[in-house]
Symmetry: C2
């Protein structure tokens, strides 16, 4: 298959779902639909937009996923109660196809992970340390043999996020990590196992065990610096 053409087409054609979403968005920002209002029935919308009900349902699902709509079976779909202006902008932003740049992703990852390790140092329990050690060993066992251990690497980082006891933080990391991985494969980021990486993982573990948040943050930044440098080199 021609990948380039494929991507080209993907940009050009606006999928039916996206058309509907935009239309519903316009109903919202124009004030025809206010928070708490009931949306017209799916049949009506599909007729109004001249499109199948399936597409309307898909659009509603997606909007629901973003917390903008709330549908109650056999009753109707409602606009979530949030300010209308903010809503319009939220939708516009969320649905815009502005995939964050690799630099943005890595920059944000550094931010989240630094906070993650700092919090982990403060909040980890004795059991947490045992769990983290298991995760560390999983990584060391594989990486020590010179084998790529991307999964184990990530799991170690996610475990640290777990110890931060901040679910929101961990969720956000879960969101951006797949994107980072995708970019890794696109740009063929060098992923040779270095002794540096190995010792840094060990050092991170030590910091968390000893509760040295400041040093943990420093090591994390250093640990991710390589990726950051690479990301920045792509831009120039």
């Amino acid at each position: 298959m021609n990948e380039v053409l494929q991507n080209f087409r993907e940009v050009l054609i606006e999928k039916p779902v996206d058309v509907i979403i935009r239309q519903i968005k316009e109903l919202l920002v124009s004030g025809q639909l206010k928070p708490g209002d009931k949306l017209p029935p799916e049949r009506k919308l599909s007729e109004q937009f001249g499109v199948g009900r399936t597409h309307v349902r898909d659009a509603i699902r997606k909007l629901e996923f973003y917390g903008i709509l709330k549908t109650r079976p056999q009753s109707g779909t409602f606009v979530a109660s949030i300010g209308i202006t903010a809503l319009g902008n939220l939708i516009a932003d969320v649905l815009k196809i502005d995939s964050p740049s690799f630099v943005s992703l890595v920059e944000t990852r550094v931010l989240l992970e630094t906070a993650s390790v700092t919090l982990a140092c403060e909040r980890r329990t004795h059991e947490d340390i045992i769990q983290l050690e298991l995760s560390l060993n999983n990584y060391l066992d594989k990486a020590g043999l010179g084998i790529k251990a991307v999964e184990e690497d990530l799991m170690f980082h996610l475990t640290i996020a777990d110890l931060s006891k901040n679910k929101a933080l961990k969720s956000l990391l879960l969101i951006i990590i797949p994107d980072i991985i995708a970019n890794y494969s696109i740009f063929k980021v060098c992923d040779t196992v270095t002794n540096k990486a190995l010792s840094e993982h060990k050092a991170l573990f030590d910091c968390i065990r000893e509760g040295d948040g400041e040093r943990g943050a420093r090591i994390m930044k250093e640990h991710l610096k390589g990726v950051m440098d690479f990301a920045q080199s792509l831009v120039q």
Copy 2:
């Protein structure tokens, strides 16, 4: 309607979609499906799980949304190429209904916004400052009259995120802000307009205009401290 009962039922019943997602997840973690593999056709899956094809499609959509699956029309649905172990854990985590606590959300918001304002101070252009001033005035105009200006408040913060030139950062803020708003209404957070809030917004603007990142971060933390204190008071 009895809201309590509603919530109760909502927890109890496992929707068909979630059942399918769990089944597909088991196919993944058990190794029957490896990254890059093609999933059985939708018809086969629906037959195998003893459920309508619609539900299978819904499940695939959701998994696709999380970046776990990738479906190509008239060709098939494939498992995204990411380590299987990490995958299993990602799915387990993402689909777990562990709504982050309010404290987590606010804590993370403080983190993101602090970084946001720091970056904005470094990277803002002349045009950015004009735009931010507009946003600020929108807020001041409404809030100055003693009217609640939640939307304008949020928009000001989002504009700052915009000036940070970090799309990932802004996207993440967009993700958690609705959650925070939801909690605001649940817990009836006091949202009286205070002179303190007004002057802090102005101060944030000044910092960004003058490029004083350090002071900007300090003010942002102070600005969100009230919310943070409230969130923590709920726990105790």
